[in-house]
Every structure is written in structure tokens, then in C-alpha cells.
Amino acid sequence: MHIHDYEKIWLVLAMLLIVAIITTITYGATAAGIGMISDQEETIDSNALDEDERFAEPRVEQVGENEYEAYVIAQQFVFSPDPIEVPANSRVTFYITSPDVLHGFHVEGTNANTMVIPGEVSKLTVEPNEPGEYGIVCNEYCGSGHHTMEGLLIVHPEDEFELEGDSDE
């Protein structure tokens, strides 16, 4: 097959570009440690979330020094808990599921973004550094009130943070 010289050069450059992109992404995924939504979590009966120890009562829980877990339900057309409150400079793992249809969970201005699928639990870990309020948006169409579905993530300065119920301990 006759391939023109310029075409050969172009072909080689195109392949190099592709390999370079794959390398960059692999670097981000491995060395830079950008974790991805995966399949570590078991499936869940979306009709029986009220019997599930994590989701019966959506909440934020401290699980270690500076380590928190947030159990979040996304449903037509609210997130709970709302707001979600965590301290700065901590490590927060979100577990999110839905009792009805597909939803999205996107912390605005960040790459904390996941699909929420009934029957599945999305797990993502973030390390909020900057205290402040971050909007949470459902970014997957979920029904006629989709555009009203929002939440708030409040990142408190470390020394001002107190988990609900902590004062009793």
C-alpha cells in the first residue's frame, strides 16, 4: 500500500500524541493519586434504605483522627443531610446512594463529582482544605424538579468544628 511520506510523519505524530495523553492520564491516576469512583461498595436495596445502618439516618460521622464519613442520600429533589458539615484539613469519604432515580452529586468548583445510581453506592474521598461554603448540584436530570435540587457543603475551620452530639461524649 502506498503511503505518502508526509502521511507517515503525520501518522507517527498522531500515535505519539495518543500515547502521550494516555501516559498523562495514567500518571494522574497512579502517581498523583486521583482516585476514581469504582466498584468497591456492595449493591444496596434501594427500597430498604431506612433499614440500612449507614443510610437510615444520613449524617456525617467521625471514624478516625481527622477522618470522617458522610452518608448521603440523593432523592427527588433534595440531598440529605443538608447542609453537610465537615472540618477543614480532614479526609472525608462520601457514601452516596439514591432511593429513586439517577442523580448527580457535584461539589461546585471542585472535581468531587459522581453519578448516583439506585442500587449502587458511590464512594469518593475528598480532602477539603479551604474553609467555606460550597454548593452541591445534582447534575443528572432526575425529574420535573431537577433544577431545584441543590445542597451545601460547609467546611468549617478545624478549631470551630463540632460534630452534632459530640458535646455529650
Binding site: M1, I3, I34, I44, G119, Y141
Partner: protein, 595 residues
């Protein structure tokens, strides 16, 4: 050069009057869908940017469903079957085997479209159960009326029959010409259909196996992740289904109207074979953020996707090289000076070239989407529709419109009503899309979600790192308005052309490639080999993820009930429906998911 080409040659209509009628009908149907789709498009553009709102926000999703389905199912695919019928008949130089069969598949596609559109428009009627506000992607457990799924199935069967029609032509031709290479246009049509048949496996299982019987109430539970994955099994190759007819025009028509010849026929074949092999085993790249699919499967999809850049990069070279050859034939000189010698006054040429230019930009934003982890920043933001309005919305749509300016006179024996209007139309599309798509990309980076009626929230504001949100909303609205005007100009120009006086001698023969099929190994034409490889790749890419999804959640899912998409709030609907036995089932189903 163009005068020479127009010197009285017989047109497609002169040579194949019956086939020309079918092609006209298919293209005509696609233009009706384009026109309606554009009307829905401008309504949603003005609504979401808060420039002009005249309806309740909930109807936005009805409008969006109609826009999506009409544009990416009806407009694109009707055009595809029209242009491929033309390409196959023209390049094999023989009429179709049985024109009644041809009309039958066209009829199926029309019937399917109407069946699907009825429940979509039912969304505008408050009291109607007939509703399908599920958007183009119809992710379960959002549930549409059974007519919606039924209509899609009928439409799909129509497209399969169209492919069978072209294969039948090809087999008949092959009998008479056993030693000849498959003509390029026929080769492209056949490869496209092979890809389409493979892709259809996913959507067929999803719709016929699950969604249709589920919407009829035959069973209650659904595995939302499974049907979503099966959707994307089909949902990515479908974007190449839109694109490949545009590629066919770039490879076989654009070189001629540039005044030259295609640089390389063999590479055109290689490109299409790569599409056949790689466009299906990548669907999971739409699901990078899905729980229940492992990182490994996502990484495999990402790698395959990046290699899918190759055929498009090769095409960029071949098409530009062919244009340069054309320009030099027309007397162009210099390193870049030849660009001036191109026929910029020809709307068909300028439209296709601008479409190709925008496709390059769309390719780059697509690389961001395909980037496994970069994608987290833009997934489901306005960036994504910004991207695909460059690809399907311009590379495909504008090429189709430009190609129509070239082809329509040869299907009707009527001269184009106005070339200046046509030229203005394609430029207007380019400018409108540049504004709209830019605004969408930028707003997406600021985190603004797609598919959202009123992306203005109570608890927070989007932070624009430059400019302001209002500015980009306005840019989006202006762009959308220009695109609507452009669509109207196109439709009116074609309608007036069809009403014009008949003339003869409008035929425009296509030039032969510089490097023809005889330069390529015969193995390229071995369709059986390529389909086997493509199937193996699909099996490799999908067996494990699908098995894992089913193993995790079961075939019918871990207890996920249907949620019919009706415009009224669900609670109100359930109360209203509770008394009626006919819809009692619905109420029970909803009862299960209400707090």
C-alpha cells in the same frame, strides 16, 4: 473547473429516478426534524439562560427530550439513510434491487419517529399519562410511556432494513463484478452498517429485553446500571453513526468541490475499518463516574477511546491534503497561499470546511472528556453539550447542510434557489456555534450543570473565574439565536429550490482519487475479517463489565422500582392516580419510592 463539471452531465435524478425519490424523502424527513428540533432548541436556550421564559420550568425537560430525539435520532439518521442510498446506488451504478422494500424501511422509520414523538409531546399535556420526559438517554428507572420505547424499536428496525437493502445491492453487484474492488462510497456505507448492527446489540437488549416489557408492567424491578451500560454500548457508536456519513462527504465530495481529487482512497478505507473496530468497545467512557464499574474497566475504555482519535487525525490529513491538491489545480501557490485559491464562494465547500475546522476544536474538548480523571471536572456540566454541539451539532449538521446544497439540485433537477443565502447560512452557523459552544464550555468549567432548566440556585452562585455568568448566558443565547436563524435560512432555501423551475444538466460527477483502491491490499475489502475482529474486541471490552454488573445487582437489579416521568409532581400524580384501577399499579410503584 466547476463550470466544466456542470456541463450538462445527467443528474442522479435522470439516471435513477426511483431512487432519487427515496433519497429526497429521507433527506426531506431529516430537514423537518431539523426544523422542529431547532424550534425546541431556541426555546430551551432562552429559558435556561433566563433571557426569555414563557413556560413553567418542568416543561423544559419535555422540550429538551424533543430537541434531543429529533436532532440526534431523526435528523441525523434520516439524513444518513438518504445519503447512503445515494452513495451506494451512485457508486455501484445500479438501481436498488426492490424499491418497494426500500419504501418499506423508509415507512418504518417514519412510523417509529411518529410513535416516539407522540408520548414526548404528551409531556405538554398536564392531564396526560402519555408522557416521555426521559431525555434522549432514557436512563431507567425513569420510565417513559411504552409507545416511546416501541417507537424507537420500530425506527431501529427500519435502519437495519436500510442496511440490508444496501448489502443486497452490493451482493448483486459482486455477482456481476467478482474481481472489482468495492467502490469507496459503498464500502463506507457497508462498514458503517456493520458497526451499527454490532452497536444495536446493546440497545436491543436494553429496550426489547428490559425497558419495553418493564414499561408495560410485565415486571417491576430494573437494574439501573445494567440498562445504562447497555445504552452506552450503543450510545457511543451512535455518535460515529452520525459522523460517518459526514466523513463520506469529506472523502468523496469535498475533494471534488475543492477542484481536485481525494489524496488516498486506501486510507479512507483504513479509517472506516478503525471506526468499525474501535467505536463500540469504548462506551464505558461515558460512565467514568458510575459506581459499580471498576477502575480497570474504565481504564480499558479510556485507552480504546484514545486510539479512536487515530482515524480522525488521519482524516484531517487526507482531507486537508486533498483540498490543497484542489487549490493547486486551481492555480494556488505558496506554503499557505493555496488557501486563497479555494472556492470560498461555494456554500457546499465553505460549509464543509468550516464544519471540519470546528470538528478539530470538538476533538480537543473530546480528549478532555475522554481523560479518565480530567473528566471529573466536566462530567455532566455544560461543557459536555458544548463539546457535542461542535461534533454532531456542527461537524455533522453543517456538513449535511453543505452537502445538501451540492446534492439537492441533482436530486430535483432544480438549481439552488440562492447561493448567497446558502453561503451566509453556513457562515452564520459557524459564528453562532462558535459563540454558543464557547459559552457552554466555559460555563461548564465554572461547574454549571447540563440538562437543567434553570441553573440558578438559592444557596450559592457559580464563580466565574473570568467574565461573568450573565455574560456567558448572553453569549449562549445570542449564539443559539443565530443558529436558529441559520436553520430557517437553510430550510427555506431548500424549500424554494424544490419549488423552482426544472432545468437539465445539473449533474456533477465526482473525481477519481489520486491514489485509488488498486494501491491498497485487497484484505481491506474483506468485510468478514473486520466484523470478526470488531466482535472479538466488543466481547473483550464488555463481557467482564456486564458480567460484573449482573453478578453484583442481578439481572433485574437490587430492588429498583420504576419512576414514571410525568410533568406533575409525583406526589400529586400518585394521589390522583390512586383511585383509578387502571393506573393503580403506577401508584403502588410510586408509593414505594416516596418517603
Amino acid at each position: 473547473m466547476s463550470e466544466q463539471l456542470e456541463s450538462g452531465a445527467p443528474t442522479f435524478l435522470d439516471r435513477f429516478p426511483q431512487e432519487a425519490k427515496v433519497v429526497r424523502a429521507a433527506l426531506g424527513s431529516s430537514f423537518v426534524a431539523l426544523f422542529l428540533g431547532a424550534l425546541f432548541g431556541i426555546v430551551q436556550t432562552l429559558h435556561r439562560t433566563d433571557v426569555f421564559r414563557f413556560m413553567d420550568a418542568e416543561y423544559y425537560y419535555t422540550v429538551l427530550t424533543a430537541h434531543g430525539v429529533l436532532m440526534v435520532v431523526s435528523f441525523t439518521i434520516f439524513f444518513l439513510v438518504g445519503i447512503y442510498t445515494w452513495g451506494v446506488v451512485r457508486s455501484l451504478d445500479r438501481p436498488l434491487e426492490n424499491i418497494r422494500f426500500t419504501w418499506a424501511w423508509y415507512g418504518m422509520m417514519v412510523a417509529g419517529t411518529l410513535l416516539a414523538v407522540v408520548p414526548i409531546l404528551g409531556g405538554f399535556v398536564d392531564t396526560s399519562e402519555l408522557s416521555a420526559d426521559v431525555l434522549f438517554t432514557f436512563y431507567a428507572p425513569k420510565q417513559a410511556h411504552p409507545l416511546f420505547y416501541g417507537g424507537l424499536s420500530v425506527f431501529l428496525i427500519g435502519t437495519w432494513m436500510a442496511g440490508a437493502d444496501w448489502f443486497r445491492s452490493y451482493f448483486a453487484w459482486k455477482q456481476e463484478n467478482p474481481d472489482e474492488r468495492i467502490p469507496l462510497q459503498t464500502f463506507m456505507a457497508l462498514i458503517t452498517m456493520l458497526m451499527w448492527y454490532i452497536a444495536s446489540i446493546g440497545i436491543t437488549i436494553a429496550v426489547v429485553g428490559f425497558l419495553l416489557p418493564w414499561s408495560l408492567g410485565l415486571f417491576n424491578d430494573i437494574n439501573a446500571l445494567l440498562t445504562r451500560t447497555l445504552f452506552w454500548f450503543w450510545g457511543h457508536p451512535v455518535v460515529y453513526f452520525w459522523l460517518m456519513p459526514a466523513y463520506m462527504l469529506w472523502y468523496t465530495v469535498l475533494p471534488t468541490i475543492s477542484g481536485g481529487r481525494l489524496f488516498s482512497d486506501p486510507l479512507g478505507r483504513v479509517v472506516f475499518i478503525l471506526f468499525l473496530m474501535l467505536s463500540t468497545p469504548v462506551g464505558i467512557h461515558h460512565q467514568y463516574l458510575d459506581p459499580g464499574i471498576s477502575e480497570g474497566f474504565k481504564a480499558i475504555a479510556m485507552t480504546n477511546t484514545m486510539f479512536l482519535l487515530l482515524p480522525s487525525l488521519l482524516t484531517a490529513f487526507t482531507v486537508v491534503a486533498s483540498m490543497e491538491h484542489g487549490a493547486r489545480q486551481r492555480g494556488g501557490t505558496g506554503l499557505f497561499g493555496w488557501l486563497r485559491a479555494l472556492p470560498w464562494r461555494d456554500p457546499a465547500f465553505t460549509g464543509m470546511t468550516l464544519a471540519g475546522l470546528m470538528f478539530a476544536a470538538g476533538g480537543f474538548s473530546g480528549m478532555v472528556n475522554a481523560g479518565l480523571n480530567i473528566n471529573y471536572l466536566v462530567h455532566n456540566t455544560l461543557w459536555v453539550p458544548g463539546h457535542f454541539h461542535l461534533t454532531v451539532g456542527t461537524a455533522v449538521a453543517l456538513t449535511f447542510m453543505a452537502g445538501t446544497y451540492w446534492l439537492w439540485p441533482q436530486l430535483t433537477n432544480r438549481e439552488l434557489y440562492s447561493r448567497p443565502i446558502a453561503l451566509a447560512q453556513v457562515i452564520l452557523w459557524f459564528v453562532g456555534m462558535a459563540l454558543m459552544s464557547n459559552a457552554m464550555h466555559v460555563a461548564g468549567l465554572f461547574g454549571m450543570p447540563r440538562r437543567t432548566a434553570e441553573p440558578q440556585y438559592e444557596g450559592f452562585d457559580f464563580t466565574a473565574t473570568f467574565g461573568s455568568i450573565a455574560e456567558f448566558d448572553l453569549q449562549l443565547a445570542i449564539g443559539g439565536t443565530l443558529l436558529t436563524i441559520s436553520t430557517l435560512l437553510f430550510v427555506v432555501n431548500i424549500a424554494l429550490t424544490s419549488a423552482g423551475p426544472k432545468v437539465s444538466g445539473l449533474g456533477k460527477p465526482l473525481s477519481e482519487p489520486l491514489s485509488g483502491p488498486e494501491d491498497s491490499p485487497e484484505i481491506l475489502d474483506n468485510l468478514k475479517l473486520w466484523i470478526v475482529i470488531a466482535l472479538v474486541l466488543v466481547v473483550l471490552a464488555y463481557t467482564l463489565p456486564l458480567a460484573s454488573i449482573i453478578e453484583r445487582g442481578g439481572v433485574f437489579g437490587p430492588g429498583v422500582d420504576p419512576v414514571p416521568m410525568v410533568v406533575e409532581p409525583l406526589v400529586a400524580y400518585a394521589e390522583a392516580a390512586a383511585g383509578e384501577s387502571a393506573v393503580g399499579r403506577l401508584a403502588t410503584a410510586i408509593g414505594g419510592v416516596l418517603p
